[in-house]
Symmetry: C2
Subunit: 206 residues, 2 copies
């Protein structure tokens, strides 16, 4: 939902979209959705595989749908879904790609609902990572994270205005054909769409 909204809202500034396949349960469905939206908007889309994460990193997000906790994002059990420094890794690679193509900015669609559980979504992380990227590149590449202080409900409200059909996006951490409806991301998705008064036509298992 978040990346797709950003893709549509900033489509005229985006030269390249990257999806990272890091072996999570939901990556295949995510990649499929990202491809379709980039094709529709005529934005180049590449998939970068990060095989080493599944091999060496510890996270319930990488270890199978049965391990994904159910319930709200604020619950402590969602901590098991943290993939250590995932955003740092994805931003670094995107930064190298940007410098290779003489692009100036890396965009990410983190939002305030992520801050509690994921340290690499917080404003202080984004600011210091942007500083590191600027210092570490000839072109002083920076991060733009326009949704950092918005809620997922705010993002859905932007999407509603633009006319995004969120049934064509995928959120579920379990990665099944249909959204499970009960994992942290599914609960958050439902709440955000309700907040924005969007008629949610996503088929859920529960």
């Amino acid at each position: 939902m978040d990346s797709t909204t950003m893709l549509y809202e900033y489509q005229h500034r985006i030269a390249l979209a990257v999806t990272f396949d890091y072996g999570s349960n939901h990556n295949a469905r995510e990649i499929e959705c990202a491809k379709q939206h980039c094709f529709k908007l005529n934005i180049e889309h590449i998939v970068i595989s990060l095989d080493f994460m599944a091999k060496y990193f510890k996270s319930s997000l990488l270890s199978g749908a049965d391990d994904i906790p159910e319930g709200s994002y604020n619950d402590d059990n969602m901590k098991s879904t943290v993939v250590p420094f995932r955003n740092g890794i994805m931003l670094s690679i995107a930064c190298g790609l940007a410098e290779s193509r003489h692009l100036t900015t890396v965009m990410m669609a983190n939002h305030s609902g992520d801050h509690t559980v994921y340290p690499d979504c917080r404003p202080e992380f984004v600011d210091s990572m942007s500083e590191a990227m600027s210092n570490g590149t000839y072109d002083n590449i920076r991060i733009s994270a326009p949704y950092t202080h918005l809620t997922k409900g705010d993002i859905a409200t932007i999407g509603k205005r633009i006319g995004i059909d969120y049934a064509t996006t995928y959120s579920c951490y379990k990665g099944g054909e249909l959204h499970c409806g009960v994992c942290g991301t599914c609960v958050e998705r439902k709440e955000a769409l309700a907040f924005a008064n969007i008629n949610d036509t996503t088929p859920y298992l529960k």
Copy 2:
């Protein structure tokens, strides 16, 4: 030379060593040397492959030995060997690995001779990257870069004291069986060993 010296000097603090295979000409020789030294010191060593770099990144380091410039590191042509944000990417992945294993620190062996050509070796990059890693992890992982303000000659002097046989290390950016002796890293290697009054038994082509 730099990483090997650090490995020996800090061997009692190092729980895991990582070599990144990013498709450069000299990666195969580097990995071989790293394996041997880690085996000797009984330090776990893993190799992480970064295939996407060869596919999407632009650098003479990735495009074949013939493209490697010859001469000193201070020359402008060495800029072609920059792999965009390479250290940012390697540090980020090492940071995620560290958090996965409850380690506290990521070490890197950058030195002051790298600063002119490689922005992601400079102290301001290391400081801001360390800040980003600390902000982006639960365990506030940080970078330790003990050679940042030393020259490669200083590092060789440390190695001499420890008794490292530098003929068992590999530097050449061309990646051949023998060191070419004329690329930027070979020139720098010879100068550093001479500075430390080490009898250089490395076989060079020139």
